[in-house]
Symmetry: C2
Subunit: 163 residues, 2 copies
């Protein structure tokens, strides 16, 4: 029977706990201070640093670890609020581009400091440089394994090796 030893169990329960508590905490701050979801903030942030503040839906979905359906809904809302705009991609007419509007740009810029402060207050400031290095290593390893359908990383290789 597959059970866990003490160390494995501690790590697992700790991870689950963080996973249950961190997202609501991030959303709460964002909602309160900027009327945004944490995910919406990520979307706007990615656009902000993209060339011409524009990305294709697929690229944006990959960059934010989200499904296309989820992103589509979110973009509809953001578009309704005037923070982004969508237009057909001239190069590939199946695709649609999303661009940050001027209003959207101002909105992210205003939201960013609070977000970084929260990231520090909730996570970064409580870890030593060694722990930060471990966390980066660990989460990068897990990220590779967790991406089920190659949604989130540019498909550098053809396949994910399965057990």
């Amino acid at each position: 029977m597959p059970s866990m030893d003490e160390l494995e169990s501690r790590a697992w329960r700790g991870l689950i706990r963080v996973i249950e508590l961190l997202p609501p905490a991030l959303d709460a701050q964002m909602q309160r201070d900027s009327n945004l979801t944490h995910f919406e903030f990520m979307v706007l942030s990615m656009l902000r640093f993209a060339p011409d503040s524009t990305l294709r839906m697929t690229a944006l979905a990959q960059g934010t670890n989200a499904s296309l359906a989820r992103l589509s809904h979110v973009c509809s809302r953001l578009e309704g609020r005037g923070l982004v705009e969508r237009f057909d991609c001239p190069a590939d007419r199946r695709a649609t581009n999303v661009r940050l509007t001027a209003a959207g740009n101002e909105w992210v810029i205003a939201a960013a400091p609070g977000h970084f402060a929260t990231a520090r207050a909730l996570v970064i400031d409580h870890l030593t440089p060694e722990q930060l290095a471990s966390l980066a290593e660990i989460t990068e390893a897990l990220g590779l394994r967790l991406d089920p359908e190659n949604r989130t990383l540019p498909a550098v290789e053809s396949g994910t090796p399965t057990e």
Copy 2:
């Protein structure tokens, strides 16, 4: 302007990635194999190891890192499926107790192996013992900070003894 250095940024992005991807992955396996949410599985598991398979709602909420409202909804569904039953707590009539039914017990027991296998396949098997130790340390530190209203840790001070 509070920004992040390279190491902080890697750790943060990695953590966010895991947080976005792991919960859906856990839910997907549970849903497919046992028709349960990962959270529902946690609820049933906690009850399974509680004395008399019974816990008060508050204790159960703390143990699963959830709000009382969320737990209440979930228990209603589980009760509807006959996996748990609720009854008034004789010691404190404000409180309600939740008990695992026989059917519920069988259901968790059947679901557990698949869950542990998934935990291994997605997380544990990809980490060295040192990384597991780091992860336990890190997540426990973060967990302490993340608990907003002291919901999730047993209130050691005021004491919530069962019955």
